[in-house]
Amino acid sequence: MIEYLLSGFGFLFTTMAAPALFGGVVLGIMLGVLPGLTATMGIALLIPLTYYVSPGIGLSMLIGIFAGGIYGGSVSAILLKTPGTPAAGATLLDGYPLSQSGHAGKAIAIATISSAIGGLIGALILSFLAPQIAKIAVRFGPTEYVLLGVYGLTMISYVSGKSLIKGLFAGCIGLLISTFGIDPITSVPRFTFGTLNLLTGFELLPILIGIFAMSQAIEGVRDSREISPPQVKLTNVGISIKEFIRILPHIVKSAFIGTFVGAVPGTGTDIAAFLSYGEAKRSSKHPEEFGKGSIEGVAAPEAGNNACVNGAMIPMFTLGIPGEAATAVILGGLMVLGLQPGPLLFADSPEVIYTVFASTITSNLFMIVLGLVGARFFAKVLSLPKSVIVAFIFVFSVLGAYSMRNSMFDILVMMAAGLLGYIFSLLDYPVPPVLLGVILGPLVESNLGRTLLVSGGDLTIFFRRPISIFFIIIIVLTIGSNVFKHYKSKK
């Protein structure tokens, strides 16, 4: 495994992958800095470009955007009291008071160092743990894949927000979209209406760009008149060794919390950040400083949320299950590149997967350099006119949707998906379940067909294998706990 990882580093630094990763981190930080723009949107918009380079290079860029985007959110949280991403919500609690007291530079430096160390620990855990999980998962047959897909669909309940029914409704829309085109078992063309455009079904990319980028652009138009609070001036960016020693134990602890939280599908960087913040406050010698500008209060959530980025990739790469929106989009990216996420990825394309692992490690090193040296530049990004950015998101979305098949039909699909995403946000319907449905639908349907053909329609096949029974227990427990949670919250 070490040899594979070293060859991953070799590929990274002998090809255009390292510059792509660096560019991805820069772009990710810029997107994260700007409130309203997310790393998820950035990944969705740039997936089409990865189609024109090798998978290793393309994925390195996407990994860079993801890592940089989560870190970038802290800059606007500290300087503007507006978290660039939900993950930076906990950073704001102490980051903004710290900058208000004239220590904005220190707050940025702590956020940068904590993010990088947290992310690095998470990346190392990912690199060594993921192949071990994949070794177990490679024994899966169609029966297990059906249950794995169903388990993935239960994640809808986690990303549904306030209403479980709305989330399930959105998930069903995604599943229905996935049924267009040739049936995977009987090869009968379904719902094609005689047009060639629908023979292979709806392409994933236009839907992905529509619901994650175009809908945000429309929201950008709606919110274009919102006025940002005044920005705090950025002074010396750095911290003392004494301060570093004080925050280091919190960083390490939060990194483990973040990685664990990320590895559990259905959680997210915001949960990791708040859990890390809570634990740091509980174990701090100065809990009274929290909320008033505690340096530990900035370090812990930043280490937690960046470690979570890598933790979230463990189920995505090993099982092909996206736990939240950003990993769902990266999963979509893998599929667009012709790679099938899951345990076979480790056997079929080890060079790609280990380049990705090398990228996750290296992205944190790039982040620390960029964050400390380029902090003033990234702070300046906050003064970019949002109108211009929103206008270009429209154009990028069109280009992205068109570029994969050179199809004007895909632009129409993207626009429709964007409008649907916008209406969903107006009505508080969650968007990620749609994507989960589109991605997991074919996996469930094709393997369900194969399983039932093999068993002659006998459903007891699902109870004959130990791994299947394990999945059934997990699925029942997940659904049960979520229904109970939603029922309890309504009461």
Binding site: F169, L175, R190, A391, V395, I423, L427, L448, L453
Partner: protein
């Protein structure tokens, strides 16, 4: 947005998707099951469509129940400051609808006159809607933006751009 508008929108959205599910059910009548089983091209769409319709009906009833239980009339505050210019006020009020309309026009222009000319027309218009109206800056952003996109996509990466059918 008022509760009434939100309720109408939610009812329309759910009804639309229930209708799509019913439509798929009708169309899939021609698809056959594998002999002696419930397996076939129509199994999955019917299963998912039925489940989705149930959730849709629940969503509609919850939305209507919420609307009917609202006893106090909703006060809509005019949060948008008036500029004094009727056109600008109108654009401000309907900016989302106008932006969606512009997207449709952009799509039609892309098919007719190709990416470069369509984008040169679209960018200033959407910037106007977004209240970015300094002429020199708009021209600069449009020219540099289109040139950047053309060079980076078409020239450097070799990504094809939408082409015109008129010329």
């Amino acid at each position: 947005m008022t509760t009434k508008q939100k309720t109408i929108m939610e009812v329309v959205l759910n009804t639309l998707f229930i209708s799509i599910a019913i439509g798929m059910f009708i169309i899939s009548k021609d698809y056959r099951f594998v002999r002696g089983t419930l397996l076939g091209s129509r199994t999955f769409p019917i299963l998912i469509g039925s489940i989705m319709s149930i959730f849709g009906i629940v969503n509609i009833s919850v939305a209507l129940k919420r609307f009917l239980s609202e006893s106090e009339p909703e006060v809509i505050q005019d949060s948008e400051a008036k500029s004094g210019n009727r056109l600008h006020d109108c654009i401000r009020m309907y900016r989302v609808q106008i932006a969606v309309g512009l997207m449709v026009i952009y799509y039609l222009l892309l098919t007719l006159i190709g990416f470069i000319f369509a984008t040169v027309i679209f960018l200033p218009l959407i910037l106007y809607v977004l209240e970015y109206r300094r002429l020199f800056q708009v021209i600069l952003v449009t020219v540099i933006g289109v040139a950047f996109l053309y060079i980076s996509f078409k020239v450097l990466l070799g990504v094809p751009l939408p082409e015109a059918i008129l010329f």
